[in-house]
């Protein structure tokens, strides 16, 4: 009846539960805090109080897709037995293996993070806040997910393209150093999610928070590597695109086994 936490309930010996006594607001808050502590959280997550959660955004949708399609009710069964045709995110065999091994899966929304001194190129810069990654978690893998729409404005851009992700290393004096991370081939007209392996940058950013200058996305025709284009030109949805198609990063982690004991 929505009042389950308003009282202490006891078994009356006849397989019935009866109210023993009504708990106070203070006790109720204590119980809430105990459960939060059990979840490894010192308090409610920040900035969510009173706001409607934006489950429609791409990152929460992706994890909800994993939750519904691969975990199910009985957590003891192996992941592969649960897997139906997954929703719109097209989980690969590699994804399923990572999900199966993971104790924690985190999503990171892409930010348009401005860094002074970086010239605006035709490529796209993406930055991810990885400060909430629990220390001591072993990173199994990470992937960058980009949505490509088949609906493009300039039909002259039809053809095959390569999307390459680089880690931004240094930005002093307007100089930029890029380190190759991963690339994927695509064609205009493709509709759906593209994935790039970004395990190395995530590992680097977690270990060196000050060195997190994000990723640089470069798009060029498959046969002409010097002709760089804007990702939007081939239908890649950016951070200002539809909420459910915005780029995001997802990290798969194996727990260290040490129980998180956060002071509250």
């Amino acid at each position: 009846d929505g009042q389950r936490l308003s009282g202490l309930y006891v078994d009356n010996g006849l397989d019935q539960t009866v109210v023993h006594r009504v708990v106070t607001q203070r006790e109720k808050r204590e119980v809430e805090h105990e459960i939060l502590n059990l979840l490894g959280l010192p308090d409610r997550p920040r900035n969510t109080g009173g706001k409607v959660p934006q489950v429609k955004r791409s990152a929460p949708k992706f994890l909800l897709d994993i939750y519904k399609n691969t975990l199910g009710e009985d957590e003891e069964k192996p992941v592969t037995l649960h897997t139906q045709t997954s929703g719109e995110f097209d989980l690969t065999g590699q994804d399923l293996r990572a999900i199966d091994q993971s104790d924690v899966i985190m999503s990171f929304a892409a930010h348009n993070h401005h860094v002074a001194g970086v010239r605006h190129e035709r490529g796209k810069r993406l930055w991810f806040d990885v400060s909430e990654v629990p220390p001591g978690e072993h990173i199994i893998g990470a992937e960058l997910r980009l949505y490509q729409s088949s609906d493009i404005k300039n039909h002259r851009n039809r053809g095959s393209y390569m999307i390459t992700a680089y880690r931004v290393l240094r930005t002093e004096d307007g100089e930029r150093e890029l380190q190759y991370v991963d690339s994927v081939n695509t064609t205009t007209g493709h509709e759906g999610w593209l994935t790039l392996n970004v395990s190395e940058p995530l590992q680097h950013w977690v270990n060196n928070p000050d060195g997190n200058r994000g990723l640089y996305l470069s798009v060029h025709p498959a046969d002409r590597s010097v002709h760089e284009m804007r990702p939007e030109d081939i239908g890649i949805v950016g951070s200002r695109g539809d909420a459910d198609r915005q780029p995001f990063m997802v990290g798969f982690f194996k727990s260290s086994g040490i129980r998180e004991a956060k002071v509250r």
Partner: protein
């Protein structure tokens, strides 16, 4: 008459013994106070945590409750030590407690929640759901 009276007395006496025999007395064996799994639902919805917990609405946590009496092995998954402890308890009830009714098998749950405004976490919590209870 004397023989019948003796037989009747013996019968009453054995009937008393029968009633107090935990091995054979169904009233003790199937008592509702026997150690067993009890229903407990932790509702994230009732806690009004739905603004940050995306899934599930809550989960069947269960708990273990009841007495650990003989015969322990009937339906209580008792450990060998629990049987010994029950015997010692019968000898010295004031000094030695009965074995504890506690979980023997636990399983995990996954919780999907917002970490902040934009980042989401799907975390597996081990040993959160009681699958079976027993005497320890």
């Amino acid at each position: 008459q004397k023989r019948d009276a003796r037989r009747r007395k013996k019968s009453e006496s054995s009937s008393l013994d029968y009633r107090s025999n935990p091995y054979t007395d169904p009233a003790i064996q199937y008592s509702s106070r026997t150690c067993k799994i009890q229903t407990l639902y932790v509702s994230f919805k009732d806690l009004k945590w739905q603004d940050w917990i995306i899934a599930p609405d809550g989960y069947d946590a269960y708990y273990c409750s009841g007495e650990c009496n003989f015969p322990l092995n009937a339906h209580m998954n008792a450990t060998n030590h629990a049987i010994v402890q029950t015997l010692v308890h019968l000898v010295s009830p004031g000094k030695v407690p009965k074995p504890c009714c506690a979980p023997t098998k636990l399983s995990a749950i996954s919780v999907l929640y917002f970490l902040d405004e934009s980042n989401v976490i799907l975390k597996k919590y081990k040993n959160m759901v009681v699958k079976s209870c027993g005497c320890h």
